[in-house]
């Protein structure tokens, strides 16, 4: 009850700040988190991440770039509207962009299959990523999917193979790769364009091995316990930052990214360009070595005789996670 009251006050404050154009969004969101507590916070973010007014991949590209050209097709089977790609010039830098594309309404979502890609989407992504490598363009990926499409055709054409090949190839592409989770980072479908040198999450985005609903139905044996699952899964941006899986969190405007497309696109643009400046300074071998270290360090386990947590990384590069 008390939480409910506080939240309504916060809502008023947010609206006021929005009207007066005062940027207190991140603070308000943090405050809201504290008031809400674990599961509820996580679930609120799941809902925001899925908000149908959030900017989509192509909107980000349009808002961020001076000019862009969408490129189509996997050169084998088809063109997947759920996973878009092309060339975008952002701050004078030519990027190859890739992104899951959702719609804002039923009609768009039917065309975009709710951002759930088929194998040809991932194969288009790989084609364009290799092209980027060949012409030394950095790659920007915009992640926003509940997962790869789990349908008949998707399986028949090897959705597993398509994602797997991307994971392998992106891990050794000789060009900087910057990934931004802008909404839902769902499972292998998200990771299929999610291997890179820098990974960012928007403040209210989520990233997880399975949807909270799927998690609930399998591990909690009750699909309706999704809210509880969201908390247990540790899928919010602060969770992943804490785990060392992502590099940083991009704060959203008051109320969430949907409330000010221009502003959030500007912040993403700034983050991406800053990351690119950093990565562009590295020689390709160094870039790959660092990416390799990042990937080899993923995972938490123990090595019994030594009695401490350890990973390949610590022995390889002298670092540790």
């Amino acid at each position: 009850m008390k939480a409910e009251e506080l939240r309504s006050k916060l809502q008023e404050l947010q609206e006021l700040a929005l009207r007066e154009n005062i940027d207190i969004g991140a603070d308000i969101n943090r405050l809201a988190d504290k008031l809400a507590g674990g599961d509820e916070t996580a679930w609120r973010r799941v809902e925001l991440a899925r908000h149908q007014d959030r900017p989509t991949a192509l909107q980000y590209i349009d808002l961020m770039s001076d000019r862009y050209l969408e490129l189509h097709g996997d050169r084998t089977f088809g063109d997947d509207p759920a996973l878009v790609g092309g060339i975008a010039t952002i701050g004078g830098v030519h990027f190859t962009f890739l992104g899951h594309q959702k719609g804002h309404n039923m009609k768009e979502n039917l065309h975009r299959n709710y951002g759930m890609a088929h194998p040809e989407g991932y194969r288009k992504a790989l084609r364009l990523a290799r092209q980027a490598e060949r012409f030394r363009r950095p790659i920007l990926t915009i992640i926003d999917t509940s997962g790869a499409f789990p349908g008949l055709a998707s399986e028949e054409r090897g959705i597993g193979e398509a994602i797997a090949r991307n994971l392998r190839e992106f891990s050794v592409l000789r060009t900087p790769i910057i990934c931004v989770v802008v909404g839902e980072g769902g499972s292998g479908g998200a990771l299929g364009i999610g291997v890179g040198d820098r990974v960012y999450m928007l403040e209210n985005s989520v990233y997880s091995v399975i949807s909270p609903e799927g998690f609930a139905s399998i591990l909690l044996r009750d699909a309706k316990k999704a809210q509880q699952a969201a908390g247990l899964m540790k899928m919010t941006a602060p969770d992943l930052k804490g785990f060392g899986i992502i590099d940083d969190i991009i704060p959203e405007p008051v109320g969430g990214a949907q409330s000010d497309h221009q502003q959030i696109a500007g912040r993403v643009r700034q983050t991406v360009l800053a990351a690119y400046q950093e990565l562009a300074r590295k020689r390709p071998d160094q870039l790959l070595r660092d990416r390799s270290a990042r990937l080899l360090s993923l995972g938490r386990f123990t090595e019994k005789p030594v009695g401490r947590q350890s990973s390949l990384l610590s022995r390889l590069f002298g670092g540790g996670s």
């Binding site: 050794v172 160094q286 390949l312």
Partner: protein, 294 residues
């Protein structure tokens, strides 16, 4: 794919690692196979447990390939019925503090007699050496967590460093969800080591066994230079029930089975268990010493 020379450092480091990895001979304790009978899960006819082990865990009546664990695979596949195991020290923790995960792991270890969903080591087939990674479906559904990822990564890097093929037998329901985002990230990690193995010029040979689904299918399982499958093995990313939920109808017979995946272009050959040793030995030969010498 041309990651350049950066991976040399990785390999050198792993090579050093190998020195202290505490390898140990691993073989199955045969005493568990007492001569009791059960009904074949495929044809229903009575099968003798002892006979089954001799017959490579293939039903003598209908040819059904039983799901087998790493230990049973070692017994039926490897020269001398053993491997020299490495990475045994790599053990699971509870990275996202998931309720009861630690307890669940302990129970699985007790129940199955193996320590994780994957077992790795060096072994021989018809005298040819290779690095092996063998998954056990009966250990928490063969799910891939941090230990599966790390052991696989080390097996592939070891093979790269020691210039031998890496042969993986898959069997998995997917990600180890209790490890949250860490389980997802094992897909990226193992796919990357597959790239490093390729860079080193050594083949990845994958044998898909029943069942192989989820995150394992969307990573190393589909990255073999050569991909074999056991007859009738279920192979897919989304499981049949998930797909049926999506399309709201029953799947056609044979969907996602090994023979189907061969027709769809994802499996090089469906190889009965009885021909596996000979086929793998030939493939190791073919990929030895960087290929052809007249």
């Amino acid at each position: 794919m041309s990651p350049g020379r950066y991976f040399r450092k990785v390999l050198r480091a792993v090579s050093r690692d190998k020195m202290k990895q505490g390898r140990r001979a691993l073989r199955m304790d045969d005493r568990r196979y007492v001569a009791t009978k059960h009904s074949c899960p495929s044809c229903g006819k009575p099968v003798d447990d002892g006979d089954l082990a001799v017959n490579l865990f293939v039903c003598p009546h209908c040819g059904h390939h039983y799901r087998i664990s790493a230990l049973e695979r070692i017994k039926t596949l490897m020269d001398g019925g053993e491997i020299s195991e490495f990475s045994a020290d790599v053990q699971p923790v509870n990275p996202i503090d998931f309720p009861e995960y630690t307890e669940k792991l302990r129970q699985a270890q007790e129940k199955t007699g193996i320590d994780e969903a994957i077992t790795t080591g060096v072994g021989r087939i018809e005298g040819r050496q290779a690095a092996f990674a063998l998954m056990s479906f009966k250990f928490l559904g063969g799910s891939m967590g941090s230990v599966v990822g790390e052991r696989l990564a080390r097996a592939m890097l070891y093979a790269a460093d020691q210039a031998m093929p890496c042969i993986i037998f898959t069997a998995s329901g997917g990600a180890r969800m209790q490890e949250g985002i860490f389980s997802l990230m094992q897909m990226a990690k193992t796919s990357h080591t597959a790239a490093l193995l390729a860079e080193a010029g050594q083949p990845l040979i994958v044998v898909l066994t029943d069942p192989t689904t989820g995150g394992v299918t969307a990573s190393f399982a589909m990255l073999g230079d050569i991909t074999l499958a056991e007859p009738n093995a279920l192979i897919g990313f989304a499981g049949p029930r998930v797909i049926e939920g999506t399309i709201r109808q029953k799947l056609p017979a044979g969907f996602q089975r090994a023979e189907f995946q061969k027709d769809k272009g994802f499996v090089d050959a469906v190889v009965p268990r009885s021909e596996l040793r000979s086929t793998l030995a030939y493939l190791i030969d073919v990929h030895s010493r960087g290929g052809a010498k007249p």
